[in-house]
């Protein structure tokens, strides 16, 4: 499943997630549920948030950053990181934290599975033409 389809699925299933943006490891925008301009601003601020959290990790001598929640009275920001991408989501105030993290992990897994299928199809195409 590609990232856009995975986000559409997530938006249908989740009643709590209001906005989703997926960022590649190199910082580029992969897909989002909002317009490009807003998505770029979300991605930029999320990258700064992740970089700051990574600095906290280094200061504490912990292992790699896995996920975070920034909670405010107006809403929450969630970040989930995998080997290739970061999923960023916003919710209203007082979300069900575990559920949002689960949904974002599922989103990243679906995109990664899509990558694997695309790579397999490409390999089959190359093998077929050889």
């Amino acid at each position: 499943m590609d990232a856009t389809a995975a986000i559409a699925d997530l938006r249908e299933l989740s009643t709590q997630i209001e906005t989703v943006v997926v960022i590649a490891r190199d910082g580029s925008l992969v897909a989002s549920s909002v317009q490009d301009e807003a998505a770029d601003r979300i991605a930029a601020a999320a990258r700064d948030l992740a970089a700051g959290a990574d600095q906290v990790r280094r200061d504490l001598g912990r292992e790699a950053l896995a996920q975070l929640q920034a909670a405010t009275p107006e809403g929450s920001v969630f970040l989930v990181v995998d080997d290739h991408r970061t999923a960023v989501a916003t919710t209203g105030a007082d979300p069900t934290v575990g559920l949002v993290f689960y949904d974002l992990k599922t989103l990243l897994r679906q995109i990664a599975d899509g990558d694997g299928k695309a790579a397999d199809e490409e390999q089959e195409r190359v093998d077929g033409s050889a």
Partner: protein, 71 residues
């Protein structure tokens, strides 16, 4: 006597208002925090007012503002 009758409700009203403001401020502070989870399963919770939270929460506010504008 009439003046005292006026002062007591004013003091009670001002106290209630101040209490409401302080309670609301404290509630907002308690609801503002940054929870960071690491690969080993550990996590750290940074409360509003801590240096790290005060440095990082503005980025979260920017994410929320951009999300609201883009919605």
């Amino acid at each position: 006597m009439a003046r005292r009758k006026l002062v007591i409700p004013v003091v009670i009203g001002a106290g209630s208002f101040l209490g409401t403001v302080l309670y609301r401020r404290r509630s907002v502070r308690n609801r503002t925090r940054l929870d960071i989870y690491f690969d080993d399963g550990s996590m750290v919770s940074l409360a509003a007012g801590s240096p790290d939270a005060d440095r990082l929460m503005p980025h979260a506010d920017l994410v929320l503002a951009a999300a609201r504008e883009g919605a």
